[in-house]
Symmetry: C3
Subunit: 205 residues, 3 copies
């Protein structure tokens, strides 16, 4: 196991916690919690690896199954001792987003994708898990919530990661710095209710 998969595994864990928290709120059972956590944690990465053209890491490396198991157990034990579940869900989701937009972009660059495609793939893997979570739980995805900013931090993080990788200044320190920027941006957008312009102009021409 290379140290390079650590941020990927951490991202899987954070997203899996968000999935298990939603499972708890929806009244799913423990197996449903494990499955929804796995879908959210592993879904974005499986899509990423299929597009790159390799066997998804979740299937070639059994260690990827550990984070969803830990997440489901953690949520099972701690759910009732925390308050404001929605807040925790957003925080863990933001942490997953911050890591996946970087790891997805870097993995694509390492596979020889051009920078634009790599950023796109990083963003896809970052927002994909949460999209699956909300679609499967039968609600309009958070990604499309117009009272919130979700994709822009991921696009920013993926772009910064592509610049850092291309300029050869991507290392543990700068990687963590980019993740912190993305996480802070996402949480600030959620807390202060920042929002992007609507899909349509307000006034008639």
């Amino acid at each position: 196991m290379s140290i390079e998969i650590l941020p990927d595994l951490l991202g899987v864990f954070f997203f899996a916690v968000s999935g298990s928290l939603l499972a708890g709120r929806k009244g799913f059972d423990l197996i449903g919690s494990l499955l929804l956590g796995s879908l959210v944690g592993l879904g974005g990465g499986v899509a990423r690896d299929l597009i790159i053209g390799q066997i998804p890491a979740a299937f070639s490396n059994p260690v990827y199954l550990l984070p969803p198991v830990l997440a489901a157990l953690l949520v099972f034990w701690l759910y009732n001792s925390v308050e404001k579940i929605g807040r925790w869900l957003t925080v863990f989701d933001a942490a997953g987003l911050a890591l996946f937009c970087i790891t997805g972009t870097v993995k694509a660059l390492n596979f020889g994708f051009n920078p634009v495609a790599s950023v796109l793939l990083g963003v896809t893997s970052a927002v994909g898990g949460g999209l699956l979570r909300d679609v499967v739980a039968n609600q309009v995805p958070q990604l499309f919530n117009s009272h919130d900013i979700y994709a822009i931090p991921a696009i920013l993080g993926a772009t910064l990661a592509a610049f850092a990788w291309t300029g050869r200044w991507l290392n543990v320190g700068t990687g963590i710095a980019i993740a912190v920027v993305v996480f802070t941006f996402r949480i600030a957008a959620w807390h202060f209710r920042w929002h992007a312009p609507l899909a349509v102009r307000k006034n008639k021409l």
Copy 2:
């Protein structure tokens, strides 16, 4: 056509019937019934084959299109002469589940996947079609119904199949036996309303 694809084709047929039954209940038209049946019957296997890294069997072998056509016609002709559609939907879905958790696991093992990944892929292909069916029909997936047990029989069947394959005692007889165990477990869980513990503990710490 090798005899080995027979259980796979049967599984496609069973899942396709469950899709067409749901299409009938939702008031879809005959083409919608064929498409939903195809999606349920072929979706899990297409995901399985993409992850393995080969062209999905549904696209490389036209015989896979036959079961969904038969299923849609069967449902068209017989829907009104049977009662308790929900019961039939569950029975056909359970039959598909019983076959796919075995065929998916064995296919992955034959492709050189390790046993853990093979079980995971078998479960994914077994629950994937039903998940797609419910997501597309805009309802919370049966997979996450906390008054029911759905994934555990598939996990059990995939695990048994992996043990049988590894121990070289997987043959037509033991394969059928495993499928019968999975089917019976699933139907009993549904009939007697067995359920797993909820995703969260009931009492506060």
Copy 3:
């Protein structure tokens, strides 16, 4: 850039407009409009390319990102100056359908798929984007609307394209002719409320 990707890019644009129009109607923001447009415009083609076994065109060729950007901007500026959004959504969706059922079939044939599989892949790529659009926006897909005919024109177009390609009479002229037939069929079915027989017979046996 080969001239052959022009119809594919046009199809992406048409589908992306339908996604951005739906985003406008659902009150999504501009980024959500861009993302939903991208999902609809690129989703069917990504599925097609994954099944064929190559890196999806949307990721290997950055020019594919242009149509969704144009579509989101167009919808942003013009949404309020047009009326009957639902009608425009159907028209753009039909135009995407008409192009994708041909380009998907031809791409599969060029990759050595047999005609039946190629037609299936053409139909999958043509209906896939719209299916994703409706699933993500949390509504029962138009594909399954029993008061409408959606898949049959795509099946017809894919079949005609396969015949034309096999008989070596597929060129720009016949390609456009097939697209016009599919588009006209789809729009007429929608306008005159043609519908296929229901998934179940009306009377009991």
